[in-house]
Amino acid sequence: MKNLSAFLFSILDRFMRFVELPTVYLQKKIGVQRMGYLFVAPNMVLFSLFVFLPVGLAIAYAFTGGTNMLIWDRPFVGLENFSRLLNCGSYMNPASCEFDLFWTAVHNTWWYTLLNATGTLVMALITAVVLNRLTKGKALFRSIFFYPVLLSPVVVGLIWKWFLARDGLLNALVLDLGGERTIFLLEVWWSRFWVVYVSIWFHMGFFTLIILAGLQAIPRDIYEAAKVDGTSEWRQFWRITLPLLTPNLLVVAVLLLIRSVQVFDEAWVLTDGGGPGTANTFIVQFIYQTAFSSEVRLYGLASAASVLMGLALLALTLIQVWLAKKAEY
Amino acid sequence: MAAIQLKNLHKRYESIDVMHHVNIDIEDGEFVALVGPSGCGKSTLLRLISGLEDITSGEILFDGKIVNRLSPAEREIAMVFQSYALYPHMTVKKNLSFGLENLNMDRAIIEERIQKAAKLLDLLPYMDRKPRALSGGQRQRVAIGRAIVRNPKVFLFDEPLSNLDAKLRVQTRGEITKLHKKLNTTMIYVTHDQVEAMTMAEKIVVVNAGRIEQVGKPLDLFERPANRFVAEFIGSPKMNMFKAKITKVDDSGIEVTSGTIDHFTIPVISESAKIGDSVTLGVRPSHIEIAESGIPLEITQLECMGHETFIYGSMQGESEELVAHLPHHFEAEIGDTIFLRFTSQFMHVFCDKTDQAFKRIEA
């Protein structure tokens, strides 16, 4: 085994000597320090292609119309895409808008974000505080609560779809307790509830871990001093833990908002594409459908919606950076 | 082996000049120490010679050939770093052979060279260990071994002893000197410790604030410091300094007067000295003698070691404290007043305007 790996390594090393040759030549040409350009180049090429260029394109496409994919075949339409998206009788009533689906998605995303962010923050905070109290078994429970984070959205969607199915375990329990059999994911309000619930279930562990790290950064001796003073644990939480954790929590809260606005994957799988009807259609799904799965691929409109969402996210990100800086001081 | 010449070497970092037009000649096989206080630029100078850093202007010549644009490997130098910089993930053996493998050298020659170096440095029992399993002294020897196996033209040492304890430092000092005798290769040695420089080097370059203050043999620097900086830097304890005024200038020297010394003639070449100029007098602690009468000194502190004695005290009319070093047994009490005698041949005079020393009239 050791011989084998040594053998494989020697082959790899020989190969790398071969790769090395042109770099040695280049090094002679441009000097040692400028070799940094060479090392950063592959990464920059990919970043340019798949991040920087798309950002530019998103803005460019947002101002063009038609259904052509090639940018030079698309007519410039100015702000038309935006004005059509924003053309509404009343923003409170999606039905009064030219693109009612977009506004339904905006409304859905708004409520989802509010509920998901609040729910996740509260649950994660409680879990983190409880975990932080443990003297033994902390690592075990931390792992248990974190585990769902590592699952894929498809897996999470399917597991819950099965759990909530007409013939699922939940209905069996409900029946057993004398309730009524419900097809949860086909009822508007139930499906919305479960989308938020599953999201919290899915992502809570991540935020628990981050809050836990914040808790562990609070010096132990503060608590010891409080204990000597006879402060009860409840009081310790409200008077010490929470105030000291607030800067951290604010950063986490904004991060949660940023993530929530982008809801798509697990909700899409769980609700079979945003159903029932459009009860769980979110902004990302609107963009995805407009650009990729409708008969007419409206890249301009989808890009305009992306730009609008990007601006909202940018605002949130700036707030987060500002809060994070303040939290450090 | 190589003779090295630095001609008008200049280095600038982002509009800050860190080396000012340096000129040094190093002979083939010479052991040269670059010495100076921390941050003086001596390590920068070594890195410029090594090729790890590019020079801004000037020339570096190895055996008469300009090497300005050559890499460290092409200059065929080897370097021992202050931190040793052993590759932590490689065994001692790999550490020694890595440089040779990079040169695509024949496996058998590599083996032969590292065996030879390991034998020379007593490293054979540790060949399969990783650096973290070695003591400080052993790591140091691996670092030297890594330099030796390359058969370099020049060895560069960057404060190689500063991470060792006092006892090991003295021992290693001797070993490096022996190594130089044996290999007879040019060695350039950077240190902030003037004792190391004095005991090991054949030639010392005193560096201060990016400039060369003086180049010379160790005793030359001790006895004939070119300026105030060298005078104070070389020798421990520091040279005593006090202010004086020139009262007379003639061919036999300069006559000075200070708070305690009255019309004292020091045999130096008077050159540009004028009566009334303010100067600084310097006298080494070991050049002070005790006498029945003379300059009175009130003892403020005393260190009696039996075979030698350090006396600290203040002289009337002088703000600076004075240190005297007696190479013998001496007993006194703090607060006692004793009398000192200065010998004019051993005194130094520095011009206050230029900080340069007046040259001594050689007998």
């Binding site: 409680i126 409880v130 974190f146 590592l150 099965w162 013939d167 871990l209 963009i287 990007g310 | -």
Partner: protein
Amino acid sequence: MLKFLTRTRHHGKMDITDILSWLWLTLGTAVIAIPIAWAMLSSLKTEAEVNSFPPSLIPQSTVNTQVEGYDKDLSVWQWTKTDGETKQVALVRRIGIKATVVDMDKPEKTFQVPISEITQLKDVHFQWQNYTDPLERFDFFTYIKNTVFVTVVATILTLLLNSMAAFALSKYKFRGKNAIFMLILSTLMLPLSVIMVPAFIVIVGLNLADNLWGVIFATVATPTGVFMLRQYMLTIPDDLIEAARVDAASEFRIYWRIVLPLCAPALAVLAIFSVIWRWNDFLWPLIVLSSPENYTLQIGLNAFQGQFSVEWHYILAMTVIALLPVTIVFLVLQKYITEGVAGSGVK
């Protein structure tokens, strides 16, 4: 176990907060574990069992037996006679509330019993075919193959490219270095959902649409990876790099022989994350891949559940396949993962 559970911070006495804490942990564990465990158990049930309601907890199947004189196997039932005596019989046919059964010891004679007196016998049975059938009859083998390909290649490229960029940004001095670093960091804040439309157009332009390489290339340059590795490389002393330069190593060789091996711990963490990310990726492959022979497992599974939405026994088995690698990685390396997340806030 009890002692462990009742251990508290004030040795001996258990107050209300302790009770609430343990309640929260137990409840939380149940909420997390039950749906997953339920999916796993269900994935081992027969099709009939999966579709029966109310469901049984443990995967079971009916007990069948061969009886002389009958071509087909007959199912075995428990007959509880009115006097309380029980007996096992094989069911021949059922008409209305009467069942025709046969005594297995005397197969020549059938008799009729009311069906209220018989219950079907079941035993524990794991339907492993749920796992093998989709691999053979549907494209799941291809999906898994594609996913493994994407995961392995993307992870190797992620490690190589990001460590190279991190090396450049931590150990070299060149014009524009800080600008490049800031540019890379700023992409940390830029989610895929905002740029998915133009990113897909770029993929089309590169002729990589419906191509696994299109999935790979867009994901390998990650700001998280660059940032993480750069932070680690900053702790490697510059002396080591310079010693290697003096030792006649070329810059590329320094990267390959000195920097990469020394970064092994950070590379390992990034590798774990990369494997999990790529295995789980959904939105991007969903956009790029269009033909089933190129689907990754996640996309294939999603498509399958849309198309064959009643075949839950297959869907669940493949769901378990999809969560298995990540679960194994987590079980083995949970310490590194949780610490990596807590330390750097990446996911």
